[in-house]
């Protein structure tokens, strides 16, 4: 094997990777935030709603979860605008897609969390005279949050990695930046050898941060 590694080309365009990573994080952050609102809202609607509401929510979840994300990305970016006769920029389109996608996963996470709150705690809240809204705010939410934190960590990290799919609609995130360098310098191995640890370290830091959060909010004090 007489391949000579040359990382100079990668370093020359390092700003593409740097800004790409920041954009990946931004996309993940905004999508997850919107996804959380969707997920929580629908989980509550599911728990408290009638059959029609439940069916509609279940349909949304199944429709989104059982198709590849890539297909959704294409559908939202190319399909919807051409059918509706309008256009939006790639980044907005991708954020919308990822938000819808994460929403579907988070509905299930939050719903499981709400179901897992011991009924006795709700009784206790009622017995001291908390109104439904107060029970939601001071009992159900804090409990649900603690119950779902470990599964949230998984969803967050996996969604962050999913931002790499934005590459296919030319959103200049990390994978797009890497691909640009590869195409323009032909240093294929070097680029991916740099991008790989960038994803790895970011995911690791994310997970570690969430672990700390879990420990901070643990119901068992060590």
């Amino acid at each position: 094997m007489d391949y000579h590694f040359n990382f100079n080309f990668v370093w020359r365009y390092a700003d593409k990777l740097y800004w790409g990573l920041l954009l990946s994080l931004e996309i993940a952050f905004v999508s997850i935030l919107i996804g959380m609102v969707i997920g929580l809202g629908l989980a509550l609607a599911y728990t408290g709603g009638g059959r029609l509401v439940r069916t509609a929510i279940a349909a949304y979840v199944e429709f989104i979860r059982n198709v590849p994300l890539l297909l959704l990305v294409y559908l939202v970016f190319y399909g919807i605008p051409s059918a509706g006769g309008f256009a939006y920029d790639a980044q907005t389109s991708f954020v919308a897609t990822l938000a819808l996608y994460s929403g579907a996963y988070l509905v299930e996470v939050f719903r499981a969390g709400l179901d897992a709150i011991p009924k006795g705690l709700i009784d206790a809240g009622k017995s001291i005279g908390l109104t439904p809204w107060q029970r939601f705010l001071y009992v159900r939410m804090p409990m649900m949050f603690r119950i779902v934190l470990p599964s949230l960590s998984n969803v967050y990290v996996s969604l962050f990695k999913d931002t790499s799919l934005a590459y296919v609609i030319a959103v200049p995130e990390l994978t797009y930046g890497a691909n640009w360098i590869k195409t323009n310098t032909f240093r294929v191995i070097e680029v991916w050898l740099v991008v790989w640890p960038m994803y790895l370290v970011t995911c690791y830091v994310l997970l570690h941060g969430l672990r700390l959060l879990e420990r901070r909010f643990s119901l068992v004090r060590r």
Binding site: P118, G120, L121, D123, A124, G125, K126, S127, I128, G129, L130, T131, P132, Q134, Y138, V139, P142, M143, R146, F217, L219, V220, R221
Partner: protein, 258 residues
């Protein structure tokens, strides 16, 4: 009994086809400690949970301090009060649970102050004082900042009592509060309840502790088949148990367990 604090009339409830309460009448006067005993499945706990409408009931009336609790006053069809409207009524009816039901994410102190600040609208500082007073009273002055997971069952149950009593309820409902405790922890919880009885707290106590029922209870109510079978002064009821077949066999059965 002219002016009962708690007045239960003809309460009926079924779970599916099973009738759990079959026309229960019960009066509790202010300051009384009424111990409700009976075999499991006799409807004791359900009756207790109907009083603050943790369970709905199909027919009858339950008044606390002359206020119809679960259903709006007025004739015609029974209209269930909304959860919002129930909240202030429930705040006046304290409840202590078999499985403690402490909020696990809150410290002992916060478990007690939550209702004081959010429901009673008391300032944080005053709520903290009041909660500290009650937690000290139940012997937990050194556990204010502990999470429920750091407390023993007996300690958790005493927090549960403090949480209920600090609200200043008109009546306290105790639902088999020592059933989930190790035998050696039962005493510490019952002595707290005994103290409350001395203070004149009105209580309805579902219990299997016969010694407690005899010594602390002013009355014993024996339930079976969803009805009140016997209702009388504690010592009298226990003294005459031999003449009542069902009570006799019930007492013999729990005797064997102990």
């Amino acid at each position: 009994m002219s002016q009962s604090l708690v007045q239960i009339r003809g309460v009926k409830k079924s779970f599916g086809t099973t009738r759990v309460l079959d026309g229960v009448d019960l009066d509790v006067a202010k300051g009384e400690v009424v111990c409700v005993i009976g075999p499991s499945g006799s409807g004791k706990t359900t009756l207790l949970r109907c009083i603050n409408l943790l369970e709905t009931y199909d027919d009858g009336s339950i008044k606390v301090d002359s206020v119809e609790v679960g259903y709006e006053d007025g004739s015609g069809s029974r209209k269930r009060r909304s959860e919002r409207a129930l909240a202030p009524i429930r705040a006046d009816i304290g409840m202590v649970f078999q499985l403690f039901n402490l909020f696990p994410h809150l410290s002992a102190l916060e478990n007690v102050t939550l209702g004081l600040t959010k429901v009673r609208g008391i300032s944080k500082a005053e709520a903290k004082d009041r909660a500290t007073h009650w937690l000290t009273r139940v012997g937990l002055a050194d556990k204010l900042q502990s999470l429920p997971s750091q407390l023993s069952g007996g300690q958790q149950q005493r927090v549960g009592i403090a949480r209920a009593v600090a609200m200043g309820p008109k009546v306290l409902l105790l639902d088999e509060i020592t059933s989930a405790l190790d035998p050696e922890l039962v005493g510490e919880v019952l002595s707290v309840v005994q103290g409350l009885a001395k203070d004149g707290m009105t209580m309805i106590v579902v219990t299997h502790e016969m010694t407690f029922a005899r010594d602390v209870g002013s009355r014993i109510v024996f339930m079976d088949d969803g009805r009140v079978q016997i209702d009388g002064p504690s010592r009298e009821v226990l003294a005459n148990a031999a003449s009542h077949e069902r009570l006799k066999s019930f007492l013999a059965r729990i005797e064997m367990k102990h």
